[in-house]
């Protein structure tokens, strides 16, 4: 938390100003009941109207000063806290921007999002409350006590009695409540886990009819979360009523004992009024203080999560300076091995191959064979553990990531589109692209037809995540986005899966022309997609178990033949 608060340092003068202003405001508030008492005892009771005028004037002046101080305090505290929030968000967002996929895997995308948004908002809210309360609560508490005692020391015994009751009951509730809050978080994470597993494993679950078991698991997690949430809310339900009860009862006691004091002539009625106000102030300050005790630890959790992100360094450096244009349109893997962080088995081992301009290199193999991993190494989303990858004849570590990636047209497995128009999304590949270039890329990607059918055609809006398009449409746009770059190297990571066979075939034919001077790296599930590749790499458990053309592999490779037979009819193979 303290580390995060250090980010307030650009605002330190503002913060100091807020402290001074809040102090002034608290003092003004403390002074008011005394003036009120004075008006009653010396003005109202004695019917002295000029006196009321005079003290009344003072009262207004003091409360005006208090109000002005409060207004400025509010202005500057908002400025400091919101400024802190803005700076932190920017810092975290820029920092995360430098992460490789490795860090994204480690923290989790969803978690990174919450850390950048909710966690920072949380901290920001607490800072603004702290700025306003951390000074006023103690000042009101101590000042209220002093003034109450000065009004009537013996009556103050009531407060002295009530304060511990209030403090102990609040702390007691929090003591029971806080661990429950943590439990809620734990159960929420538990539910998160079940839902996430259900989502990622949806194919497996459906294929093996595991729906009933998964449903039961989900129901259990859901019930547990609901139960612990009910429990925590039932405990926290005590908080407000108990606080109000203690406060109100204290006032009742003050009126009773104060009445006795007045009757004995030991106290004036106005002083009693002031006293009641002070009691309220003191109790209120105590309540504020206990809230701080609740809020700060919760914000501290958020602060810790933000710090974790800021302290995380990208696993590898981006310090290459070479230009990547020695041999255009070539890709070379030289004995590349890759371990995911913390894994004991390699995800890829000893991969070597060379691809020349105009060639198509296809990767085929089962789930978890390392196909996607391999293509992700090329744009340096991950760093190979050993071995060398060359793009355009240049070791990818010797050029900047930006340079390498500018040579690549990447089509990811999941078609990710962004909010904006169709044109915006295709231009994502090349910002200054002309309409003619857009048309060309769209028509190669077989996207022209459905774009023209859309309202506004290229200006049609895509919603967040592309939810208003079908899977195949998204895939074609994501292909057009790569095509428009006219890169030296195309990477298609299982990018035709959502297309029907006809479109798939048409697209591959059109691509052939487009990629004459470039090399193509292609991950595929369907054998029909790879039939005319110049080179097919058959992967199994991260190893190349076969390399060659379709015909060669059918002849010589057991694994490939099995895959082919499961998909194609006899005559198609022949």
């Amino acid at each position: 938390m303290i580390k995060i608060l250090k980010n307030l340092s650009p605002y330190k003068w503002i913060v100091l100003g807020v402290v001074a202003l809040v102090f002034a405001q608290s003092m003004a508030e403390l002074f008011l009941p005394t003036l009120m008492a004075d008006i009653i005892d010396n003005g109202v009771v004695q019917g002295n109207i000029p006196y009321i005028w005079r003290i009344g004037g003072w009262m207004l002046l003091v409360s005006a000063i208090g109000a002005i101080a409060a207004v400025f305090a509010s202005y500057y505290s908002a400025k400091a806290a919101m400024g802190l929030g803005r700076d932190l968000r920017q810092k975290v967002f820029k920092h995360v921007g430098q992460f490789s996929l490795q860090e994204f895997d480690e923290v989790g995308t969803a978690s990174l999002i919450t850390r950048t948004t909710n966690d920072i908002t949380q901290v920001q809210q607490v800072v603004i409350m702290m700025l306003r309360m951390v000074i006023s609560a103690p000042v009101m508490l101590v000042g209220g006590l002093i003034l109450a005692i000065s009004k009537d020391a013996r009556l103050s015994l009531v407060i002295i009695g009530a304060m511990p009751i209030l403090a102990v009951s609040i702390l007691l509730i929090l003591k029971y409540g806080m661990p429950l809050f943590q439990q809620v978080q734990k159960q929420l994470d538990g539910l998160n886990l079940v839902v996430r597993e259900n989502l990622t494993g949806i194919r497996v679950i459906r294929a093996f009819n595991r729906e009933t078991e998964e449903k039961a698991r989900m129901q259990k997690a859901n019930r547990e979360l609901a139960d612990v949430s009910i429990k925590v809310n039932k405990v926290m339900a005590f908080l407000m009523p108990v606080m109000m009860l203690v406060m109100n009862m204290t006032v009742v006691a003050v009126i009773w004992f104060g009445g006795i004091r007045i009757s004995n002539g030991a106290m004036q009625i106005g002083d009693l009024m002031a006293f009641i106000q002070y009691v309220m102030m003191i109790m209120f300050a105590l309540v504020m203080a206990s809230f701080m005790f609740v809020m700060i630890p919760r914000a501290a959790v958020s602060a810790k999560r933000i710090n974790e992100v800021l302290e995380m360094q990208p696993a590898f450096k981006d310090d290459g300076t070479e230009k990547a244009d020695r041999e255009r349109g070539t890709l070379e893997f030289e004995d590349v091995t890759f371990y995911y962080p913390g894994a004991s088995e390699p995800a890829l081992s000893h991969i070597s191959f060379t691809a020349k301009p105009g060639e198509i290199t296809a990767l085929i193999g089962g789930t978890g064979s390392g196909k996607s991993t391999l293509v992700n190494l090329v744009p340096r989303f991950y760093e190979a553990t050993s071995g060398t990858i060359r793009v355009n004849g240049v070791d990818i570590r010797e050029a900047s990531q930006q340079e390498i990636r500018s040579k690549i047209g990447f089509v990811p497995q999941k078609s990710i589109l962004f909010t904006g128009t169709i044109a915006d999304n295709i231009r994502f590949g090349k910002q200054e692209a002309s309409q003619a270039e857009l048309d060309q890329a769209a028509s190669v990607a077989q996207a022209q037809e459905f774009i023209n059918r859309m309202e506004g055609s290229y200006a049609a809006q895509i919603e967040q995540g592309g939810s208003n398009l079908s899977g195949g449409q998204k895939q074609r746009l994501s292909i057009a986005r790569a095509l428009i770059r006219k890169p030296d190297l195309y990477i298609f990571d299982d990018s035709f899966s959502a297309l029907d066979y006809k479109t798939d075939a048409k697209l591959r034919k059109a691509l052939k022309n487009e990629t004459k001077n470039a090399t193509v790296l292609l991950v595929a599930q369907r054998v029909s997609t790879v039939v005319d590749a110049d080179r097919i790499l058959v992967l199994e458990k991260g190893r190349v178990v076969g390399m060659g053309t379709h015909d060669e592999l059918l002849e010589s490779n057991e694994v490939y033949r099995e895959i082919a037979l499961s998909q194609l009819s006899e005559e198609e193979i022949a």
Binding site: Q25, V44, G97, L191, V195, I202, N233, V287, Q431, G465
Partner: protein
């Protein structure tokens, strides 16, 4: 002093406006329907608790008036003057009883509401899960898992805490408003004068502030929504952003929205921070006014119990 504590804007919720508010609301109501008996009980105790809390100050005013008159009589040397502790004791006993019941009911309200809210949330999650089972695989291919995940967990969670807090707060606010109006009607002409003097004044001062605050708050929420959307898109599309070298542009867009959020948030927080001091300034002003108008009369005592 206000019983509500400082106004706490729901600034921490990244709110996007529902596209079909009516339909969404109706659906939520359909989830609450099976629990209408419990909900009715919650509302009943909420109303009782609020009524008691409003009547409290009036009874306290009676005690203080009694005290004041007694002390005043004693001071003036009126024969038979002095404080009648029997009466005060009775009033205070009633007052204490009222407060106990008010707290009790307010506890009961929260207690019962926690079951209603969480069971509703439970049902919602079960139904979402059932629906997910029926959806075709394309649905899951079509969007990042994180999106579905956050609907299932965070979004539904937000519904839960909103049900727990805001629904009953809504009821008590209405009751409080009505209750205070009734109270004002039962109180002396002089207090009506305060109302006449300070209410338009409050409206005059608070009205524009509230109007602006609403504007700034909605602008803050809107920008927060935009920022969250941008972060979500850029993080889920991280691979693509990097592949196409869009980091700089993405940062640029982020900075622009972030700056707007800062400006809107700053204003919203500022406005929400000055409502309380403004109210108390007006309160003090009216207090002095009554003291002066009332002169020697004994009315100010009552005013303490606003």
């Amino acid at each position: 002093m206000s019983q509500m504590g400082p106004p706490r804007p729901g600034a921490s919720m990244p709110a996007e406006k529902a596209k079909d508010f009516k339909g969404t609301f109706r659906r939520l109501v359909s989830y609450l329907k099976p629990r209408w008996k419990k909900l009715a009980a919650v509302f009943a105790v909420a109303i009782l608790s609020t009524v008691f809390a409003i009547v409290g100050p009036k009874i306290m005013g009676m005690a203080i008036t009694e005290l004041f008159e007694g002390a005043y009589g004693q001071l003036q040397g009126v024969p038979g003057g002095g404080i009648d502790f029997g009466v005060i004791g009775q009033i205070l006993a009633v007052l204490a009883g009222l407060y106990v019941f008010s707290s009790l009911f307010s506890y009961l309200q929260q207690y019962m509401m926690s079951t209603v809210a969480q069971d509703t949330v439970y049902d919602l999650r079960q139904d979402v899960n059932k629906k997910l089972e029926k959806l075709p695989l394309e649905y899951f291919d079509g969007r990042p898992n994180g999106e579905t995940l956050s609907r299932m967990t965070n979004d539904i969670d937000t519904i839960g805490s909103t049900l727990q807090q805001s629904l009953t707060q809504f009821i008590t606010s209405i009751v409080t408003l009505v209750g205070i109006l009734v109270m004002m009607l039962t109180i002396s002409p002089l207090l009506t004068l305060i109302a006449v003097v300070s209410l338009p004044l409050s409206l005059f001062v608070i009205g524009p502030i509230l109007k602006r605050s609403q504007k700034y708050f909605s602008s803050q929420q809107k920008n927060l929504g935009r920022l969250n959307g941008h972060v979500e898109e850029m993080y889920t599309g991280h691979q693509v952003v990097k592949a196409f070298g869009h980091e700089a542009k993405s940062n640029e867009q982020f900075d622009a929205v972030n700056e707007e959020l800062y400006n809107a948030g700053r204003k919203a927080q500022f406005i929400s921070g000055i409502i309380m001091p403004m109210m108390s300034l007006i309160g003090n002003l009216s207090y002095v006014l009554i003291s002066i108008v009332g002169g020697g009369a004994r009315y100010p005592a009552r005013h303490f119990n606003r």
